[in-house]
């Protein structure tokens, strides 16, 4: 085996190792979209989506976390806590996606995604009816 072959093999080995490492990390950090039931029984980080239950939002002073309740289409509810700043447009959101782990009483969200009424839908009829020039 000459030197060139050795380097080629070493390089290929490193690349394969990196791909394997990346694939492993990819699989373990996927957060699938699941139903509330699955979220409650799963010990892994998951992603759930639902609407905000009106008037369920409050700031838990002791734990320093935002607490609210999501409700899904089936009417099932899930308590969520989030230790971060309340996202803008939180109350107006049509859908809230929470990514995190269920701790026995609530989903501890690491991240919140807030879906707002699209700029491109609905606003046109609503907004300019009253104004003209």
């Amino acid at each position: 085996m000459n030197r060139r072959t050795v380097w080629t093999l070493a390089g290929a080995g490193l690349i394969v190792a990196f791909i394997a490492f990346g694939a492993g990390a990819f699989k373990s950090s996927l957060t699938p979209y699941v139903s509330f039931d699955v979220a409650r029984s799963s010990g892994n980080a998951v992603q759930v989506a639902g609407r905000l239950l009106p008037d369920s939002t409050h700031f838990d002073q002791e734990r320093g976390a935002l607490a609210f309740t999501l409700v899904n289409e089936a009417g099932d509810t899930l308590a969520v806590t989030y230790k971060g700043m309340k996202p803008g447009n939180f109350e107006e959101a049509t859908q809230i996606v929470a990514i995190g782990r269920f701790n026995g009483s609530a989903l501890e969200a690491e991240r919140l995604l807030v879906k707002c009424p699209s700029k491109y839908q609905g606003v046109e009829e609503k907004e300019y009816g009253s104004s003209s020039s």
Partner: protein
């Protein structure tokens, strides 16, 4: 559709098609067609510029008939932000991209030499893709369903988060980078087509460096914006939109290294063709991911499908087909020779650097595409940000190691004396790592990363210094860029490893300790009416100086969006970062009552009889720079007569009137809350006089509330009366109080409006000692009132002070990230200038 704009776009499209056709004729050997092709290209640039000017004019003239203008701007925006609404939305940013691309084509055509015909033909196709998207989803379309001749009075306004100086220049810079990636792509395809595989490198290298600088500057602006305005404490969140700029940057950097390699060694031709195509294809792919709506469920940025998804897929497929197809077509003809450089050579290290950069680009692309990839076998799922941190860590370590060694290498082997110099840098890096470990750093990977990046900083700084002395700063760009990258890597790891965050809740005026700092919430500051309010937090180091931090938290009036901006205090070694989490305005104490008195007037409040004698001009209440007003009041109580002198003083947050206790009646305080010096009147807040709320009731006319055996009958509202200073809202409710063995007595509590704040004037209930009747709310239409009875026997509700919750963090050495990136960009810019000059000065190669 706004006709002039649409016409300009169609003229641009026609000129672009014609220019492409004429360039195709040139390729077939009709040299006379080139003049036409160039003229038509010029016409296309002109038409695109006109379209952009029309859109800008429509924005500046507030033409809200246009969907685009209506959606992103309003009449209140200052000029600079108004201009930036041009690229606030999808269509406008495509138009900006097209404008940059069209302008870049002018120098490209001039300097492309014999590649011009083929390169411009391909380049025109890339512009054609953008123009197509603009024709499908036009920025010039009107609002749907708008009656003819009508225009909305105002637009919806710009997202308040984008109203930031960093964010106004971020997109234009970014799109220069996006547009420039098409140049190496077009030149690579032209070179393959023409079978001249080497000269294109010299033409394309400056453009690849332009991409690196522009995309890098865009990433810097975006990251810094996120850090100072979003308030989650970081600068990089691995959001698809951020990744969409990072991945083309990584491949462009790889391309630059590949081109330098080919220039120096005369090999690696296939690699560069592949890299040039890859960079452009990834830009298109990133556009597809972020603009087609496929990631709508997975990103904080709201993406919507504008009906261009299919077209984007088509453009992506075409770019891939052209780039890859051309390379495969010539694959066997491209000369390639095996090399004989040793492992310790710049050649081998460049290859490893390219592999590492591509590795990073690959994992970031895979992560960003995870919702698409997972869709292949099940429900779409997204990777957590941890994924990126985890997989880019080994990449970062590898990059740092390569960076550390490369200054000691030549293209063909190690530089003379390398071992000696490497030894010194090694000693320095070991010492730094030891100090870090002594300071509490731990973790093998972390220490390895720190060691490698410090080594890289030292080695490259020495090399840059040598190069500057030897050949001048103009030729040291590459080494300087390496210093910058190494600094940045060091900053990223130190700032993330030693980042400490603590959540604190600060009741107004009370001091709390966090992370070695004392924090006091001083109130909400609003410098002018209508200005964005800031939370005023005094931050002090124990035994050190104090400063005021002003994180902002407010509701945008237009979109009702909650906006929270952190405040960052930059120190040499660390940043103090205060991010707002929650503001609770508290609840005012309910037992207080307000009276207004002119000079000489008296009023009875509970057990007190107050008389306003005059303003207190004597005495020295004032600290310098503060306005202080005092009032002299005579107070008569059951225990005797006295005098109190409450004051009102200006503070950083407005005015405050400290409550003054009254002798003889414990628990009762009087505070001065307002002064009208011209009219000689004062407003006083008396607390503790009426006791707490004993009962509440909602009554219609004729209904009766009985409290402690005394019936209170609501007779009717009295709307005729006018409070002295009451303004428009001044309503009395007339109650009849029946007394045993006597005539019923009428009492009339009032409610009135004082400068936007509702005040009530309470009255005593006859027959009950000290019990007050308060009017809380009135509905004049249904003749219903809500009343509260305050009884001194009931403990008063003290209310709750406002409190402010914040995340405070200490970010050590984060300035290294910014300085490193700036140095990296400066180095790349020097390199771009050098390669551009080198190319411009080179003799015309023989055809």
């Amino acid at each position: 559709m706004f006709i002039p704009g649409v016409v300009a776009l169609w003229v641009a499209a026609a000129a672009l098609v014609a220019s492409t056709v004429f360039y195709a004729r040139c390729v077939r050997g009709h040299d006379e067609a080139r003049v036409w092709a160039r003229q038509l290209y010029g016409l296309m640039v002109f038409a695109v510029a006109v379209a952009a000017a029309v859109l800008m004019y429509l924005i500046l003239s507030h033409d809200f008939r246009l969907h685009y203008v209506f959606s992103y701007s309003d009449r209140e925006l200052p000029l600079s932000y108004l201009i930036s609404t041009f690229w606030a939305g999808q269509e406008g940013s495509f138009l900006l991209w097209l404008l940059w691309g069209a302008l870049i084509g002018l120098p490209l055509a001039r300097f492309a030499r014999h590649y011009e015909d083929r390169a411009l033909l391909i380049y025109n196709l890339t512009l054609g893709g953008l123009l197509l998207l603009l024709l499908i989803s036009s920025p010039f379309r009107f609002l749907e369903g708008l009656p003819p001749g009508q225009m909305p009075f105002d637009g919806q306004g710009l997202n308040p988060l984008l109203q930031n100086p960093w964010m106004t220049i971020h997109p234009p810079v970014m799109f220069i980078g996006y547009a420039a990636t098409a140049v190496p792509f077009a030149l690579a395809v032209a070179a393959l087509w023409e079978r001249r595989y080497d000269e294109w490198i010299r033409v394309a290298l400056p453009w690849a460096l332009v991409s690196v600088v522009a995309l890098g500057a865009g990433i810097f602006l975006g990251g810094y914006w996120a850090y100072v305005t979003l308030g989650w404490g970081g600068y990089w969140g691995w959001d698809p939109v951020e990744n969409a700029s990072l991945v083309p940057w990584l491949t462009s950097v790889a391309l630059v290294h590949g081109m330098l390699l080919q220039k120096a060694r005369g090999r690696f031709r296939k690699l560069n063709f592949a890299l040039a195509s890859l960079s452009y294809v990834l830009v298109v792919y990133a556009t597809f991911l972020t603009r087609s709506g496929v990631l709508a469920d997975f990103s904080v940025h709201s993406f919507v499908d504008l009906g261009i998804t299919g077209w984007l897929v088509g453009i992506l497929a075409a770019a891939l087909l052209i780039g890859l197809g051309a390379l495969l077509w010539r694959w066997r003809e491209i000369p390639s020779q095996p090399g004989d450089e040793p492992f310790l050579s710049r050649t081998a290290f460049s290859i490893m650097a390219i592999a590492t950069l591509l590795g990073a680009a690959l994992v970031v692309s895979v992560g960003t595409s995870s919702p698409l990839i997972t869709r292949l076998w099940g429900e779409p799922a997204q990777v957590k940000p941890d994924f990126y941190n985890e997989v880019t860590l080994p990449v970062g370590i590898a990059l740092a190691l390569l960076l550390a060694v490369v200054p000691y290498l030549h293209w063909r082997g190690a530089a003379p004396g390398a071992r000696n110099r490497l030894a010194w840098a090694l000693l320095g890096a070991l010492a730094t790592t030891a100090v870090a470990a002594a300071l509490g750093a731990s973790g093998a990977l972390f220490l390895a990363f720190l060691f490698a990046s410090v080594l890289a900083v030292l080695a490259n700084t020495v090399k840059t210094w040598e190069k500057i002395r030897e050949a001048g700063i103009a030729k040291a760009g590459g080494h300087l860029a390496h210093v910058g990258l190494a600094l940045m890597l060091a900053g990223i790891i130190t700032s993330s490893a030693w980042d400490r965050t603590e959540k604190v809740t600060l009741p107004l005026g009370e001091t709390r300790q966090a992370l070695g700092y004392s924090l006091t919430f001083k109130g909400v500051e609003q410098q002018k009416p209508g200005a964005r309010p800031a939370m005023l937090v005094e931050v002090g180091r124990e035994g050190g100086s104090t400063f005021l931090s002003r994180p902002r938290m407010f509701r945008n009036a237009k979109s009702n969006q909650l906006v929270a901006n952190p405040d960052v205090h930059v120190h040499l070694t660390h940043d103090v970062y205060v991010a707002p989490v929650e503001y609770d305005p508290g609840r005012p104490s309910e037992h207080g009552t307000t009276v207004e008195l002119a000079k000489g007037e008296s009023a009875t409040v509970g057990p007190l009889r107050l008389t306003f004698r005059g303003f207190d001009r004597g005495g020295d209440h004032g600290e310098s720079g503060h306005i202080v007003v005092g009032a002299v009041l005579a107070v008569a109580t059951g225990a005797g007569e006295g005098e109190i002198r409450p004051i009102l003083r200006s503070t950083a947050t407005g005015f405050e009137g400290p409550p003054v206790a009254v002798d003889g009646v414990p628990g009762v305080t009087v505070a001065l809350t307002g002064v009208n010096a011209a009219a000689g009147r004062v407003r006083l807040q008396v607390n503790g006089a009426g006791g707490g709320v004993a009962t509440r009731a909602s009554l219609r006319a004729g209904e009766t509330l009985t409290y402690r055996g005394i019936p209170l009958t609501f007779v009717d509202l009295d709307l005729a009366g006018h409070h002295r200073e009451g303004g428009p809202l001044d309503i009395r409710a007339v109650f009849q109080v029946a007394r045993e063995g006597g005539e019923p007595i009428r009492i009339a509590p009032a409610i009135y409006d004082l400068g936007g704040q509702q005040r009530s004037e309470d009255v005593f209930v006859p027959g009950l000692d000290g019990v007050l009747l308060r009017l809380a709310r009135v509905d004049a239409e249904t003749r219903t009132v809500q009343v509260a009875v305050l009884d001194p026997a009931v403990p008063a509700d003290p209310g709750r002070a406002p409190q402010f919750s914040a995340d405070i963090s200490i970010k050590p050495l984060i300035a290294l990230v910014w300085t490193g990136l700036v140095v990296l960009l400066l180095g790349s810019l020097l390199a771009a200038v050098r390669r551009g000059r080198e190319f411009g000065g080179a003799p015309e190669p023989a055809p």
